[in-house]
Subunit: 103 residues, 2 copies
DNA sequence: TTGAGTAGTCATGTTTTTTTGACTAATTGT
DNA sequence: ACAATTAGTCAAAAAAACATGACTACTCAA
């Protein structure tokens, strides 16, 4: 979806927005890994078994878009990209823990 | 998926199971409505704008399956079905509230 | 200057989810 | 007896999500 659809964009259910942030096959796993430090693309690709470039790219872009992750170009010796949790991303952590505690 | 696939059934991410319970287009809305009392099929269909029988049926079955809702045949004058929150469903409520509080 | 690692894009194909419309079947009100 | 309301099912189509494989472009080390 590149252009916004004017129709039906009324979020009726408030939690739905948050659920949508972590919807899909790979986002929960990516988010969880992000909790323990900066992520790098190829590393993710190796860590998340069964995933693929395209899907990870999409997921990372969406996590960026909703403000949970931040994409940072690291200007260091081998020059790379870090995906870091934003403040919002960190605030989500305790809620996720509670989710996990529910069996 | 009628038969269980032996492969890849390892839930790596614990929160993922819970997220899956409310995944899809209509489940969050159904759950939210269930918080304020018993649900009835045709009423839901009218309330949830843009939905349809088939999708609601599927969503309700899945919410039953994961133990958030219970389907009850009410043996009263006009004989109908009530969908009620289970204990587990009620326990989820505070977590959802927290989710909502995260803007 | 070649080879490996970085982080991707793009077009296409497959699979899953969601929607549509026709239909069923029991109960109740007029 | 007829119509409406209850709560759905079924097959098929459309839409969305996900996967595959080829390709790009930059950096760095040997």
């Amino acid at each position: 979806m590149t252009t916004q659809n004017v129709e039906e964009k009324s979020e009726i259910c408030p939690a739905q927005a948050l659920l949508k942030m972590l919807s899909g096959k790979w986002k929960p796993e990516i988010y969880r890994l992000a909790l323990s430090g900066p992520l790098r693309f190829n590393s993710l690709l190796r860590q998340i078994n069964g995933s693929n470039k395209q899907s990870l790219t999409t997921a990372l872009r969406e996590l960026e878009e909703c403000g949970l992750l931040e994409r940072v170009v690291v200007q260091q010796k081998p020059l790379h990209i870090d995906y870091l949790l934003t403040e919002k991303g960190k605030q989500l952590a305790p809620v996720m823990e509670q989710l996990e505690s529910l069996s």
